[in-house]
């Protein structure tokens, strides 16, 4: 049983000291395997998304219709994101107290929500007019803004994630 600071909520304390959380944290194999899966799924989903974002900015694959790229990559992006969330939750469970107290973890969650919000706006609003600009080398400002927001927020998620792991401050 670990000493937990007083300002940590009971649920976080329970997660930190549960047999499940302790098992992940103290196992020689479980934590590294879960973290490796987390990084690999991130590389698949965010790696593909960033190239899609570059197409939205008109910086690459200019002659490929955006809808075709979108259709091709989205199943892998969604699958990768799902694995990322599940493994991320397991990592959080194992180090709930450290994550809860880390300002970088809070920033990571904030940027994660920003990325999700941006994706929802793109899927349900910006994409509705895709037929008009699908084949243009450079899409309209709303689509480019979605690309920029996605690149910035996902990069911030990665930076904040590393800062959380190394407990920088």
């Amino acid at each position: 049983m670990q000493e937990v600071p007083a300002q940590v909520p009971a649920i976080i304390e329970w997660m930190q000291n549960s047999a499940f959380g302790t098992g992940i944290r103290e196992s020689v194999w479980t934590f590294p395997v879960v973290e490796t899966t987390h990084v690999l799924s991130l590389a698949v989903s965010v790696g593909l998304l960033i190239w899609f974002d570059l197409r939205l900015l008109g910086w690459g694959m200019k002659h490929q219709p955006i809808s075709r790229i979108h259709k091709q990559i989205m199943p892998y992006v969604v699958a990768g994101f799902f694995i990322e969330v599940v493994t991320g939750f397991l990592l959080f469970w194992a180090e709930a107290e450290k994550c809860y107290l880390s300002v970088f973890f809070r920033a990571k969650v904030l940027f994660l929500f920003l990325a999700a919000f941006n994706a929802i706006i793109f899927e349900f609003r910006t994409k509705r007019t895709i037929g008009n600009w699908d084949k243009f080398p450079v899409p309209p400002p709303q689509a480019r803004m979605a690309g920029w927001l996605s690149i910035v927020s996902w990069s911030a998620v990665i930076v904040a994630g590393r800062a959380t792991a190394y407990n920088l401050f």
Binding site: A43, V44, V46, G47, I50, Q72, I73, S155, I158, Y166
Partner: protein, 56 residues
């Protein structure tokens, strides 16, 4: 593999290695760039596979 050990020992004792080990910031910073670049590379490889499979 033991024939590589002197090389690893040498890299471990270089000024660069000691500077990185001595700093609290350099290692996480470089690892962050490493991860960002890996993500970009992984995405590029998958895009290339998709392009050769379906877009051509």
């Amino acid at each position: 593999m033991h024939y590589l050990l002197p090389f690893f020992k040498w890299t471990d004792s270089t000024w660069l290695a000691e500077t990185m080990r001595g700093s609290r910031l350099y290692f996480p910073l470089i690892e962050t760039f490493h991860l960002l670049a890996l993500t970009l590379l992984f995405g590029a490889i998958l895009m290339l596979i998709f392009a050769s499979a379906a877009w051509s």
